[in-house]
Symmetry: C2
Subunit: 176 residues, 2 copies
């Protein structure tokens, strides 16, 4: 773990305050900059295994547990989804705590999701996805509870992955 | 890449046909087995960096690009979300192709998502998440187009991550 920097004139929680503020003012002046496109490419590697490539980073592996017919060599896609939500919330807390002058000593987010396999296995039509997801956020800080409640409200109302999961997103899957 | 096994009596596409069929019949007889709970734990490591831990697997890193105030050491959460969708679709194609007797020579899924940063940056209320996601599926197989169209229909109607993204999911984020 990298200890948060304490030079609070330019950095807090090891976040570059000026860079984040600069991006916000840049977008205020140039609204078209706010429209971003993200991408990933997944290659199947046999069985239920695959690898996801994102920009220049090393591919990350995916598999299913033995109980679902996989070889259990890596987290599965629905676990990866929970991880993405937790990582997104971590960015949200770090960014907004820093903006509010809150020094984070530690932050851990435990995530759970309920999923019924019936539809995935082709046994009935219906919802194959999560029926509900819970994230429990543990923050170690000296900030008071009012400041934390305000931070929490800001993070949950501005989370890209949180909103993607809680709202219906048009997903187009095309065979090309 | 692991070459798919060709022993089609028990395996096709390196998928254990009996294991998958066995799970389906087990759930048909014991419907409560279909209810599964998945989890992940994310630890913030300073700045916009965090690590996600899933079961016994090595933690995977998350960061933001320099342009968003990060240190660009790993894919960011919205990219990870696209990867999870691609990995999930890969499992779906492998499982359902195998069930249909389709031999997959190769499978690649390219994913893109549009996201406007205005809400994430706190500049306006609204949707901080993806406004739309596209997955383009490239399949290398000798199967005919009718079989592929049927496979595609089955996969898209049974994808856990696909359904999670395309439907509104109750997401509870709790400060504990």
């Amino acid at each position: 773990m990298t200890a948060p920097a304490k030079d609070t004139e330019t950095r807090l929680n090891d976040v570059d305050i000026a860079a984040v503020a600069g991006l916000a003012s840049h977008i205020t002046e140039n609204p078209e900059v706010a429209d971003t496109l993200w991408s990933a490419s997944v290659t199947w590697t046999g069985g239920f295994r695959s690898e996801a490539s994102i920009r220049e980073f090393a591919p990350s592996a995916s598999d299913e547990p033995h109980g679902l017919g996989g070889t259990d060599t890596a987290p599965n896609p629905v676990e990866q989804l929970l991880a993405a939500l937790g990582n997104c919330l971590a960015v949200g807390y770090a960014a907004n705590a820093t903006a509010a002058g809150i020094d984070l000593k530690g932050l851990r987010i435990d995530l759970e999701g309920d999923l019924n396999l019936t539809t995935f296995l082709g046994l009935a039509a219906g919802n194959a996805g999560y029926s509900g997801i819970t994230a429990r956020v543990h923050i170690d800080t000296d900030a008071d509870s009012a400041a934390l409640a305000e931070l929490h409200k800001t993070v949950t109302s501005t989370s890209p992955v949180g909103h993607t999961l809680s709202r219906p997103v048009p997903v187009s899957i095309e065979l090309v």
